[in-house]
Every structure is written in C-alpha cells, then in structure tokens.
Amino acid sequence: MPFVVRRLLAVVPTVLVVATATFLALQVVPGDVATIMLGVDARPEELGRLRRELGLDRPLVVRYVEWLGRLARIDLGTSVSYREPVTRLVAQRLPVTVSVALGAMVVALGVALPVGIAAARRAWSPLDLAALAGSQLGLAIPTFWLGILLLLGFAAAWPVFPLQGYVALAHDPAQWLRHLALPALALGLERAAALTRLVRAAVLDELRRDYVRTARSKGLGDATVLRRHVLRNALIPVLTVAGLQLGFLLGGTIVIEQVFGLPGLGRLLLQGIYARDLLIVQGAVLAIATMFALLNLVVDLLYAAADPRITYD
C-alpha cells in the first residue's frame, strides 16, 4: 500500500482516540449535565428534553456509539447557548484560527531561519550569543503578555494596528492582514525563539560534516554550499519540529484570540466553557485536535519532498 494511503489511514485511529477522550472527558463533569447547561432555574420539561436529546437517559456505551455515528456524519449537535448547529459555529470560526496559526508560523520561520543560519555561520560570535540569549528570553515571555505589550505599543501609544476584531480575507485582504499582524507576531515570536535554537544547532551540525569540506574543495562558494547542500540537510529536522510547533500554535490561539478579541475556535471554546455549553466545548476541542492530527500528517508527507533518502513506497 502506498505510504500516502497508509499514513492517511493512520490518522483515523488518532482522530478516534481524540474523539473518545473528548467524549469521556465531558462525561465526568460532576453533577447533572442538563442542569449545568440550562441552569438551576430551567423548567423540568426543558431539562427532560435536553436529557433525551443528549441521550442521558441511556447507557454510556449506547450514547458513545450514537455519538460516533453522528460524528461520522459531521453532526456535532445543536448549541444550547447559540441555538445553532455546532458544526456551523465551528465552520464559521475555523478560518480565523487557521489564519492566526499560519500567520504565526510565517513569523516564526521568517525570524528563525535567517537568525538561526546567521548564528550558526558565525558560531560563538557576539551575534550568535545575542541570538541564543534572545531565544532564551523569547521562550520565557508568555505569548499573551507579549500580545498585551504589542497592543500597548502599536494599538495605544502608536495606533497603527486595530485593538480588536477580525476582517475576513475574502472581504478585505489588506484589513485581514492588519488585524492579523499583531496576533501572528505575538504567537509567532515565541515559537521563533524555539525554532532559532533548532535551526542554529542543525546548521552547525551539518557545517561540520565531510560533504561540506568536499563541496568547498571542489570550488563551490559559501552561499552555494549553504543553499544546495547544508540547508537541504539541516532543514529536515527543522521541518519536523516546525510541524509539531503548529500544534503549539493551535493551542496558543486559544489565548491569543482572547487577547485580541478574534472570533476563532479558541474563543468559541472559551465561550462554551463560560456558558457551560458542553456541545460547543466538545465540537471546538475536536476541531482543534483533528486539525493537529492532520497537520502532523501533512508534515510527514512533506518529508518526502525535503529528504530524498526517504522513499515512501
């Protein structure tokens, strides 16, 4: 079976484990779920209807199987607080979260690649030491605090960027970029700190190898050796970790969306928690975790393009 098909099939058990964990987590909620969702003042007939709708009057296993069946049809139930299908709510907010996470990845790679490569080329120079110290500091600064500082600087003191909100890409690309710039920067710089250390270590490791000496001895210039040989090898571990970092970024969007008032999946999840709307919580968690699993898949598939030593037959 070709690798792509095998790897695609491997996503199914991961998503199943994630779905099961999400289902089970919300079964251990202390107290009566219907009362939690509708509040103590809810009428008994409303409570009864919700209990029937959620299947609370049936055994756990039956509920689980039914829930999986609905999940297979991408039916996540109807939100009590929004009175809308959860699938629609998730679909509306998905582009915001994806935009923030991808924007942050662009920032992370845009900073980490040049800084990491420059630091490795001048190992132990003041520039390298500054990059190492900067990355250590960058890892320590919480993304939401950096977000607040960016708001203080670029939305208050020097109001270049908007304080809150989001504009869809299709509606106005320039405004989309303006609204995304600060959130992507806040989220991306922390990941840039982690990636810079990795890029530096990977490039430094490759620079010491024999093939670099060979390439130089046959007369290739620095830039060519770096571009054609060193980076192609050094960037393979970077690609792996960058893919995993996207998972961090998806988690990070929960906080960043709150700081910048972005109507994404993270915000939906929090609104679900605040309103005790467990179907929203379930839907948002599933959507984010499934995206994480799919991203890991994409990273695996990208290896083939980056590393000719890996053949996926």
Binding site: P30, L139, A140, A156, L226, G247, L250, G272, A289, A293
Partner: protein
C-alpha cells in the same frame, strides 16, 4: 576560488573560534539557580515582604501610578500591585510544584513499569499516552478544566495531566535503555523482586534526565497556570495570580499600563529561571552534551 575568509569554514578551520570551554561552574546553572532561588525566597517570604494585604480594597487609591507608598502602583480596586505580584508568586510556585508532582507521580511509575515489563502492558500504556499527546497541551488542560470546572486546584490537576505522558515517555525510554544492563541482571540473579529492582536500581539510574525534565516541566507549568488564569479558568479572584492580574490589566490597558507590566515580568523571570536551570542541569548531568555545540 575566492580567497576571502570563509564564514562557512569557520567552525572547521584550524584556529577558528572554538566553543567556549565549559567551566566547572556553568553559567546557565548559576544564573538559573540564582533566579529560581530568589523567586522561591520571595514567594515564601511574601507574607513578610508584601507591604499590604494583597486582597485589601482601597476605592480611594484606585489606579495609583507606581511610586510613593505603592512602589508598583495599584489596580482598579486600589489593591497594591507589588503585594499582589509577591503573593501571586506563591500561587505560581504551588501550582507548578503540585502539577509536576502529579505529572511525575503518575507518569514515572507508568513509564518505568511499561519500559521495564514491555509486552502488552507497555503497548497499552503507551497508546493511552500517545492519545493524550494527540492534543495540543493547552487544549488538553482547557478541556480538563471544562470537565472539572475553573479553579486553581483544577488547574493543578489539568496541568499535571498534561505532564503525565511527557514523564511517562521519558521514563519508559530510560527504563528500556537500562533494563538489560548488567547491574539489573545482577540484581535479578541475586533474586531481588521486580518492584525492588525498579525502585532501587532502575530509578536512581534514570534520575538525572527526570530531574532535568522536572525543571523544564516546572517552567511549563508556571506558564500554563498564568495562561489558564488569564483565561479565567485557573486561580479565581480575589486570590492574586500573575495570569489573573494580566487579565484584569487588559480592561484598563490604556490608563494603567503598570498593571500589565509587573505580573508579566514575574512570569517571564520564573520561566527563564527554570529554563536556564534545566539547561544548566542538562550540561551538568548529561555527559553526552558536554563540550558539544548543538545544544
């Protein structure tokens, strides 16, 4: 071929700057250790050091800028920011320590037994751990809190659960590496029970990496607690927490900037301290990395 000095050749060429020689006293260990010791001392001494009661409301003195009797200013309820930052440190350290204890307390035995015994038990434990790792860490913590409800005890449990698979994987890998070594075989030949071999022989041999992981996990736990409290899911008001203080600052960002600075500095200092300490301990305890450049 160009004759100019090659930057690419630098790490290879004779006479090129070598990695700085590691001194017996490694700088990250000293800097991280000093920072952590200071923060722990400040947290422990907060009741003595804090000039005011961190929850005492003073409507007349609300949003006072830094200076005078309030060194770091006051918040919108007139509470002293310096006192709240100091007491917030106690919450951060308590949550960090408890979460690491939960994560290591459950993860290490699970990983040790899985790695040492192998077979079906190993597969079962590690599949569950892989399932937990299939969630982005913060999402798993938020989902746990969605189930348990907000609060700082719940935050400790949620962060602890996130740490379990990390400790389990590390302990399993380490246990796998030592289980066929001669000292383990010797103990088995002497008739020592399995439990005793794991506790008395395997565990002490893998303690180094676990201590390093514990230190790094502590910094992650402090950061996670701040994030959860910022989202209103961790420590609840009026108990001071660094994340909660930053959430309160968000609403008055443009008129009381000082509220948004000091709790953030405190989180960053704590995370930096524990990260540096972890790096330093890695240099000290892991001989494979000594003298290496690829840190």
């Amino acid at each position: 071929m160009s004759t100019r000095p090659s930057a690419l050749r630098l790490p290879l060429a004779p006479g090129s700057p070598a990695p700085p020689r590691r001194h017996r006293l490694n700088p990250p260990l000293v800097a991280g250790g000093a920072l952590v010791a200071t923060l722990v001392a400040l947290a422990l001494g907060a009741p003595l050091l804090a000039p005011y009661d961190p929850t005492a409301v003073d409507p007349a003195g609300r949003l006072t800028p830094p200076g005078g009797s309030h060194l770091l200013g006051t918040d919108r309820l007139g509470r002293d920011v310096a006192s709240r930052v100091l007491h917030g440190g106690r919450v951060a350290m308590a949550v960090g320590a408890t979460a690491v204890l939960i994560g290591a307390g459950a993860g290490v035995p699970l990983g040790l037994v899985a790695g040492y015994r192998g077979g079906t038990l190993d597969s079962l434990v590690m599949r569950v751990m892989d399932g937990l790792l299939a969630f982005p860490a913060l999402l798993l913590a938020v989902m746990t809190i969605a189930a348990l409800g907000p609060g700082h005890v719940q935050a400790m449990v949620a962060i602890g659960i996130v740490l379990i698979p990390i400790f389990a994987r590390l302990s399993r890998a380490q246990a796998l590496a030592v289980r066929h070594q001669e000292f383990v075989l010797a103990a088995r030949a002497l008739g020592a029970p399995e439990g005793r071999i794991v506790a008395r022989h395997v565990l002490p041999n893998i303690a180094g990496p676990l201590v390093i992981q514990g230190t790094v996990a502590f910094s992650g736990a402090v950061l996670a607690e701040a994030s959860l409290s910022y989202l209103g899911l961790g420590t609840q008001p009026p108990t001071p927490s660094w994340g909660g203080m930053l959430q309160e600052a968000r609403d008055v960002l443009f008129i009381a900037w000082w509220m948004a600075i000091w709790p953030g500095v405190a989180v960053a200092a704590a995370v930096l301290g524990f990260n540096l300490l972890g790096d330093g301990l890695r240099d000290l305890l892991d001989p494979r990395l000594r003298g290496g450049a690829g840190q």
